[in-house]
């Protein structure tokens, strides 16, 4: 980065952002090809998007060893970024697989659908790589605006429009908070660069200034909306229920992971100085989010709403890890998100497979006696529920275990006991899904033929849920390495800045 010419700087800078660029190019290609193709050929667009996302995932694997600042520090490309590039791109790829049959069945406009999906993915990737507050904001907006439209894309279904509108109104509101927070933080520290902000906050007087604290609080609110933390969660159930199911999967997994990626880097890596201030706020958020999410999930008969509240509850467990604020906690959160993504994507894949055209609201009774008609599908769903429940030796259990131990280590024993009690409560609604599939009688169902894409997505989710749980070692190391790389970057940055003064 010491090079003199702009061209040199550009040359160095492009390679690390290869993965998002691939996704952008794919989006453009989808738009071009889509304008030529008729709606009935939407599957081709799907496979095109899938190819682009797989390519992006592979490219992000190439970024694992990177340790670079791109675009004069606006993007940080390190192992942490690579981890979330992979997670979000792979998640989007699986969502594409879920959409292959779904888009034509619901007569959704395929060109727009896939383009938005890809642009949302770019937004997620930007959030993971953001090195300054403006990029976080840009990423957040790119992701959110695309997903608002996707939630409302089923134009014939009033619930879809309602979902999109609710999500948009509350989301836009929260963006305001977030932007205000950025402005205050900028005003206090004179920079939007995370690194410079972190350095400025080393001054105790500044760290305690009301401007900084108010800015932090407003940004927490903005993030709270995106990850659906209680009390900022009220949009979630309606948006999840109304949106087309693959979009719900994207919201529950992709959007949430990306928001946590930005959140985690900001708080745990750069704003550690303020841990005393945001620690207790997250403590309260975590406790509320887990408890409300789990308790309300108990009463849900619509399985998408149930999964919405379950997603809220899981955000609560992630917040428990973040509250701890230690390096172990950071790694634990990354691992947790991985396990959560596998089980949740899998669960939504099953819902897509079960859903009948024209009936987007999948109630619990729609799963009735699934074990008799579709034993493999039911077994897969049971597996995902058990992983979300946190039963060993599945991925969800190891994630919970990792987060709990990080939090206990940091001294948050009460919070972990609360989390454990909450997990016990969650057993009920997950077990209920299993009971409905295996025990109760169901109506005769005619399932739509399932394409190879959906089956592949299911197979990946099943294998990953088991593998990550039974043999967690490589993934634990991956999570620890990713977090360490982000933290190392921050430390080196702060130190270098000190030296240059």
């Amino acid at each position: 980065m010491m090079a003199g010419s702009i061209i040199d700087a550009l040359e160095i800078s492009w390679r690390p952002v290869f993965a998002p660029v691939v996704v952008v190019l794919t989006a453009l290609a989808v738009m071009l090809v889509g304008s030529r193709l008729g709606e009935e050929e939407s599957e081709g667009l799907g496979w095109l998007s899938f190819g682009g996302l797989v390519l992006a995932t592979l490219c992000s694997l190439g970024a694992v060893g990177e340790h670079t600042l791109a675009f004069s520090g606006a993007l940080i490309v390190d192992y942490y970024t690579a981890f979330f590039y992979c997670l979000t791109a792979a998640c989007a790829a699986i969502v594409v697989l879920l959409s292959l049959d779904y888009v034509p069945a619901l007569a959704l406009p395929s060109t727009e659908y896939y383009t938005l999906l890809l642009m949302a993915t770019v937004g997620m990737m930007l959030m993971a790589a953001a090195g300054d507050l403006i990029i976080i904001f840009l990423g957040l907006e790119m992701m959110s605006i695309s997903v608002y439209v996707m939630a409302a894309i089923s134009r014939r279904d009033p619930r879809s429009s309602e979902a999109g509108l609710k999500y948009f109104l509350l989301g836009a509101f929260s963006t305001g908070f977030f932007l205000y927070g950025i402005a205050l933080l900028y005003g206090a520290t004179g920079s939007i660069k995370l690194e410079v902000i972190a350095r400025a906050l080393q001054t105790p007087a500044l760290a305690a200034s009301p401007l900084v604290l108010l800015g932090l609080a407003l940004m927490l609110i903005g993030f709270g909306f995106k990850v659906a933390a209680v009390p900022f969660h009220s949009w979630t159930p309606d948006a999840y229920e109304g949106a087309p199911t693959p979009v719900t999967a994207l919201m529950a997994v992709g959007v949430k992971s990306a928001a946590f990626a930005g959140f985690l880097r900001l708080l745990l890596v750069y704003l550690t100085v303020l841990h005393v201030q945001w620690g207790w706020a997250l403590w309260v958020l975590a406790a509320l989010t887990m408890t409300v999410g789990n308790l309300v999930a108990l009463a849900q008969d619509n399985i998408k709403r149930m999964l919405a509240y379950s997603a809220i509850a899981h955000a609560g467990y992630v917040l428990v890890g973040m509250t701890a604020g230690s390096a172990a906690a950071g790694a634990a959160v990354l691992y947790y998100l991985l396990g959560y993504a596998c089980a949740n994507l899998g669960a939504f894949a099953v819902l897509v497979a079960v859903e009948r055209a024209g009936q987007p609201g999948t109630t619990l009774t729609d799963l009735g006696a699934l074990a008799k008609d579709q034993p493999m599908l039911a077994a897969a769903m049971a597996l995902f529920m058990l992983s979300l429940m946190g039963l060993p030796p599945l991925a969800g259990f190891v994630g919970k275990f990792y987060v709990f131990s990080a939090a206990i280590q940091a001294g948050y024993v009460y919070l972990v006991v609360l989390a454990a009690l909450n997990s016990a409560v969650s057993t009920y609604y997950y077990a209920r899904v299993i009971a409905v599939m295996y025990v109760s009688e169901g109506a005769e169902r005619k399932l739509r033929p399932r394409g190879p894409g959906l089956l592949a997505a299911l197979a990946v989710a099943v294998v990953a849920t088991i593998l990550i749980g039974v043999y967690p070692r490589p993934y634990v190391e991956m999570a620890a390495g990713a977090y360490a790389s982000a933290a190392g970057f921050a430390r080196a940055g702060v130190k270098a800045a000190f030296l240059s003064h």
Binding site: F401, F404, A435
Partner: protein, 515 residues
Amino acid sequence: MTANLLTLIIFVPLAGALAVALFADERSIWSASFIFSLIPLALSIFLLIIFNPGNNGYQFVERHTWIADFGVSYHLGVDGISLFLVPLACLLVSLTLLYASGGEIDHRPREFCFFVLILETGLLGVLLAVDLFLFYVFWELTLIPMYFIIGIWGSQRRVYAAFKFILYTMLGSLLMLVALVYMVLRARGFYGAATFELTDLLRVSFNHKEAVWLFTALALGFAVKVPLWPLHSWLPDAYSEAPTAGSMLLGGAMFQMGIYGFLRFAIPLFPEVARQAGPLFMALGVVGIIYGALLALTQSDLKRLVAYASVSHVGFVILGVFTLDRFSVEGAVYQLVTHGLSTTGLFMAIGMIYLRRGTRMIGELGGLWRPAPMLGAMFMVAMLSAVGLPGLDGFVGEFLVLLGAFFASWQAAALAVLGLILGALYMLWAYERVIFGPLAKPDASETTDLRPREVAVIVPLMALMLFLGLYPRPLLRRIEPSVIAFLARAHVAQPVELSSSGAKAGDLAAFGIVQ
């Protein structure tokens, strides 16, 4: 062969479960799963034979690193406390499968065999794991198969019972998990590296406040599973709503898990707290004995009667364990085996009656001896074993527990004896109403007697009941070293100091129980 013996015992059923899932034909499913359950049984009998009775530590140890970052290892071992529970679990699973194939499980046999075999893996893992993480994994693994067994093949209120079962157990086990994690992190401060090894954790010193909380969390997890009064309310529902095969496994092979947790983990890890809490647990045990017996007296459903009898019996075992006396702990361990046998026998008898008469209500039964004398005789043996008739297996354990308890607290022992008397009362009274007396309905005279398959299931049980009642020495001889090691760890420094002196061994010999 012996290097991986324990792994084989644990995982052959799992392999069997996966294999059975591939079969389609009902007959081959039953026979394949039965054969797969016989392999670990044979291996565990082999284990019994080559076990060295003089050694009080873990034998046939296997140890591999599993998740290095968390200090988790795949560590198995067997000692005198778990030695007999392993073949017992294997035997009961085999008998359950044999029994269930006789027509009780009339739909979805493949899933049934699958879940029973998974359950067997979990049960055996719980008994053989020395690493606490591994223990927890197996502990939770037993939960889901039983949830399905109750939920799918149970009777009317099966879904309610299955939920109650899983919620109670999960609540306890998650608190246990938090305690485990806390302990391991403390161990990390102690050793510099995280470890889930029981042997390592035993050397970590906890301050008193920590120890109290950790013991409470562990004890809660185990007490729910035992179940200890007043945490027992899931049990009558689970036992009575489960299909007979499920009740046999619950009452015969799963009830040991909680007690085993106390013996293996909770008490050795926190001996001081355990000693302080001893009187409380003894009291809860005694309350359980009386409470279970009184409620059993009032039941009109045979299965609920046996369920409450179980509450009463586990009270005995808890009393024995927390007396922390050599007699009583040996008796308690012995009862883990014998109570498993008698409960299984009773549930089987009830299941056979239900298959023939279509009811389990005591009031609707009667006079079954005349048409089905073998059934009546078998019921009687199981019942007398449960009541603790001398000469049958139940007596030995109860006697030892009471002997130890008298030294510790004669009041507790006296109340426990009252429970014994009540036990004889409710069992004999129920037996009289069901088997003797006039025929309840005219068509009862056509009740068929035992079929060959049922005889095959019963004979091993009856033979063991008789053998263990008449000749307990082979078991006690192998249990004793481990119990002594357990008590040394628990530091019994209580008023009954004489119990840990040499006089005690002489006493045992005087009673002719141990040479």
